[in-house]
């Protein structure tokens, strides 16, 4: 199969790559671009470990084709901190121990960032439903919800 030439923006940087027409964005990020922060937990859109933001929309990158990234703005976990300044969500995840194994963490952080961008002052229930597309098997979600609540408070104050 002939490759598709794609020109896109990832974490603010202009990026070009060739990919197969049936290759997912997740495969492109991980295997072609070395951005292994997004994880493959299922490959079928059920776990959210591969979450990225494409043009302000939260998506499972395992369900998006690499070719579809053409001309878009993509945000991944690698672009969440500013230099050595962690995003408040990252900081609060650390402080609350909202991760045990951490494999779900990049997906949760991206999903939580998207949630707070759309709803800066969510209730516990809104957080729980907002993050229901992301699976975590280790934490029971308690500390994740608390970290997001705390980050929302910090971000509101900022």
């Amino acid at each position: 199969m002939a490759g598709v030439a794609v020109s896109t923006t990832i974490n603010g940087d202009h990026v070009e790559y060739l990919c197969q027409p049936d290759e997912t964005l997740l495969e492109v990020l991980r295997d072609r671009l070395g951005l292994t922060g997004a994880k493959e937990g299922c490959g079928t859109g059920d776990c959210g470990a591969c979450s990225v933001i494409v043009d302000d929309r939260l998506v499972c990158s395992c369900l998006v084709l690499g070719a579809e990234a053409e001309g878009r703005q993509i945000e991944t976990i690698e672009g969440m901190a500013h230099g050595d300044q962690l995003h408040p969500l990252q900081q609060k995840f650390l402080e609350h121990a909202a991760l045990q194994c951490g494999i779900c963490t990049p997906g949760f952080l991206i999903a939580a960032k998207d949630l707070l961008a759309k709803n800066p002052d969510p209730t516990e229930e809104e957080i729980r439903f907002g993050l229901a597309g992301n699976l975590c098997r280790c934490t029971g979600y308690d500390k994740i919800v608390r970290a997001v609540q705390d980050a929302a408070n910090v971000m509101k104050g900022a």
Partner: protein
């Protein structure tokens, strides 16, 4: 080694605080490298072909077309993994499970594998492999498999543990029995007897990270394996044996691990990856898909359990008996035996008997799942205990307190308990505000107890002090949920320095002596013991160096709060030397300063928990909602309380999923029908409430700080606690896990029919 592991009742500076974990930043920035996040030069992609049949003889495998496909570098079958197990039956099973030798024993059993230049080519190549199967009758249900008419999975199996050696082969590999006293007599003394049967379905550990590894076998006979595992030393032993390598020439590096819960305690596809690499002469990355994870790794046993308990009017249990049948997949296991050991471990019983049967079925090889086998046994026993309390007319918490095991009680599985936490967790539950909170209509409250042994095991640790006074701690137990933070706290505590100056890492198999894997809740228990011992060895050297710097006898130097202190009046003017000052001079006083420790961590204190939960049931649909959940558990000493809470919450959440929703569903064709997270639904954020925790600290006498393992016990009580809550909400005893909406509706329906008759 003259290390004294006994509890000393000291006060703590670092232990018990809640600092940020050392591996945290990497994990929130996406930099942490898990099994699939590693690559090597010239690496190929490996893929495995799996049997679509539950039970079939493999007549012939033709790989010639696949071999000819451009981009394919190696194709292997069982022939490429010759049997080097030398009569070791357990290893033979592991070998046969990684690649079927003569028969496919379950839907998903590996039969061949390829390595190709990319994933697409590898997938195409799998389609070109022709396997000629002779399909055999199969059995997937544990009770069906025990019947004489069931298809035989392995005709060389004759049930062990029977009084007379059986003449016919069977799917029951072993019978085991535990207990003491005379149950017959005990039931004779009872005023009330409850006898019930229970079933639980098979569940998967459900780690979010699929099994993944990169294997590289070099022409000189050395090899490297990068892999997500709970025990890289164990993986090295397994792989070296199966591949015919010398253990020291195979270096295994444990990646960050994206969950294991017991499912990453023995090898699955790793020997296949190594065999592919050996044949192709290039590194091979092999990552399972989620479908493969469900069909061919993990799961826990499905069970069928009968329980009988008798008690006097005053609430004293006089006898308890259980028969437990656990599925093992197609290979022998000891799952029912563990169930039989744990079933009545919470209680002080004069007369107790448990019998376990290990049952072969055409399902994936059963693997450990967090306190393996205990949750199902607890479900059956704790449900029956609730029923019995109801019949006697006594409060279920008081009933349990009256019969709880104590220090000095002989456990139903043999040993006599030291100081234990079952009584205190029950008292804490009795007094917990959760127990007194009001309930609405269709709501029910349940509580239940759970027990887990905890393990210790072989452990080896290095503690190196840098010339700047900072400390690196190399441990060999894989960090599954924050143990690097806990172990750094322990090193800081023992040395008397700040946590910020300690950095813990997990060393690879070539850098440290053998360590058992992280299972049995042993990670923090055993590695903290080894860390304390290593730190004490380092302190001995630090004292010697200080003595040298002061030119006094080492006997006059003590170690206090991170400093060498000169003792005795004649040294009154010498003051103190900090660890940092001593380290700075180390080049002149004898070279690097380090402490090493190797030990077998004995005496992992047993662990108990009691859980409370409130459930609301919709009687129209049978759907359930967890309204409130509380975990009370003994930690011995919580080294990093936040991560202890995390273990309590995570185990409870897994138990909730198991109790209400999760199950392997097999079709009549013996194929797994729900091998994905859409149809095998684990709890999501919106399914759960906050999970409250209460940590009790009843010191373990066999650990210097009193630590007990905390990782597993939290999954033991939920099945029973939730079943008791649902039963209280709907007024019908629930006896089949998971209590999915159709099962709850069926139970309600059956009850209505019983009344209308």
């Amino acid at each position: 080694m003259n290390f004294d592991p006994r509890y000393s009742g000291r006060s703590f500076t670092s232990v018990g605080t809640r600092p940020i974990r050392p591996d945290g930043v990497d994990k929130v920035t996406g930099r942490a490298r898990y099994g699939a996040d590693f690559n090597m030069a010239g690496q190929l992609v490996g893929r495995i072909l799996r049997s679509p049949h539950a039970h079939a003889i493999i007549r012939k495998i033709d790989t010639s077309k696949a071999e000819k496909l451009a981009g394919v570098k190696a194709v292997i079958t069982a022939k490429d993994l010759p049997d080097l197990t030398d009569g070791d039956a357990a290893m033979y099973d592991i070998l046969d499970n990684s690649m079927a030798r003569t028969k496919a024993l379950y839907d998903g059993h590996a039969v061949a594998a390829v390595a190709a230049i990319d994933a697409r080519t590898a997938r195409q190549a799998l389609k070109l492999i022709e396997v000629d199967y002779e399909v055999l009758p199969h059995v997937t249900d544990v009770d069906e498999a025990m019947k004489h008419s069931a298809p035989l999975i392995n005709d060389a199996i004759f049930t062990e543990g029977l009084e007379e050696k059986p003449v016919k082969p069977s799917n029951v590999t072993k019978r085991t029995q535990y207990g003491h006293g005379d149950v017959h007599q005990g039931f004779g003394e009872a005023d009330f007897v409850v006898e019930r049967s229970f079933k639980t379905e098979q569940t998967h550990q459900g780690y979010i990270e699929p099994h993944a590894c990169v294997a590289s076998v070099n022409p000189d006979g050395t090899a490297d394996l990068w892999v997500c595992t709970q025990g890289h030393f164990v993986y090295r032993q397994h792989c070296a044996q199966l591949l015919g390598l010398e253990a020291s020439k195979l270096r295994v590096t444990s990646s960050e691990i994206g969950g294991g819960f017991g499912g990453k305690t023995h090898v699955w596809a790793e020997p296949v990856a190594l065999a592919l690499s050996r044949k192709a002469g290039r590194p091979v990355k092999l990552v399972m898909t989620r479908d493969e994870v469900f069909r061919a790794s993990g799961p826990t046993s499905a069970t069928s359990i009968d329980v009988k308990i008798g008690a006097k009017k005053d609430g004293t249990i006089t006898a308890a008996e259980a028969t437990l049948r656990y599925s093992c997949g197609p290979y022998a296991g000891m799952w029912a035996e563990i169930g039989a050991m744990t079933a009545f471990a919470c209680y002080k019983l004069e007369n107790v008997k448990t019998v376990g049967y290990e049952v072969l079925v055409n399902r994936p090889k059963t693997a450990a799942y967090r306190a393996p086998s205990a949750p199902m046994a607890a479900f059956a026993v704790e449900s029956a205990v609730d029923e019995l309390a109801k019949e006697i007319g006594i409060d279920p918490v008081d009933f349990r307190i009256k019969n709880a095991a104590q220090e000095g009680t002989r456990a139903s599985y043999g040993p006599v308990y030291g100081p234990i936490g079952i009584g205190p967790t029950l008292e804490a539950v009795k007094n917990h505000p959760h127990m007194k909170a009001p309930l609405g209509t269709n709501q029910g409250r349940g509580m239940a107890c759970g027990f887990w042994f905890n393990f210790g095991g072989q452990t080896c640790t290095d503690l190196n002090i840098g010339m700047d006074g900072s400390v690196s701690l190399a441990v060999g137990t894989v960090d599954v949920g924050g143990s690097r933070a806990s172990l750094s706290l322990v090193a800081a505590e023992e040395l008397g320095i700040d946590y910020a100056h300690v950095k813990a890492i997990v060393a690879d198999t070539s850098s440290l002596g053998y360590n058992d894997m992280t299972d049995g809740s042993r990670g923090t228990f055993s590695s903290s013991m080894a860390t304390i011992s290593a730190a004490r060895n380092a302190i001995k050297i630090l004292r010697e160096r200080a003595a040298q710097m002061w030119d006094i006898s080492v006997d006059d130097v003590a170690w206090e709060k991170g400093h060498a202190v000169a003792k005795g009046e004649k040294h009154g003017n010498l003051g103190k030397l900090s660890l940092k000052e001593i380290a700075a001079e180390s080049g002149k006083t004898g070279g690097p300063i380090a402490g090493h420790s190797e030990l077998v961590a004995d005496g992992a204190g047993v662990s108990f928990a009691t859980h409370i939960c409130d459930i609301e049931v919709d009687p129209e649909t049978g759907s359930t909602r967890v309204l409130r959940y509380t975990v009370v558990q003994d930690a011995g000493k919580a080294v990093h309380p936040t991560y202890v809470e995390g273990q309590y919450q995570g185990g409870a959440a897994q138990g909730i999923g198991w109790a209400l929703n999760e199950e392997y569903i097999y079709g009549k064709d013996g194929r797994l029908q729900n091998p994905g997270f859409l149809d095998y639904r684990i709890p999501v954020c919106s399914d759960l409430p906050m999970i409250d925790t209460q940590i009790l600290e009843i010191p373990n006498p066999n650990h210097p700080y009193g630590v007990r393992g905390v990782g597993e016990t939290s999954i033991v009580p939920p099945l029973a606690a939730i079943a008791n809550a649902v039963s209280n909400a709907v007024g019908v005893r629930m006896s089949h896990i998971p209590m999915s909406p159709p099962r709850i509706l069926a139970a309600l329906e059956a009850e209505r029919e019983r009344f209308s008759r």
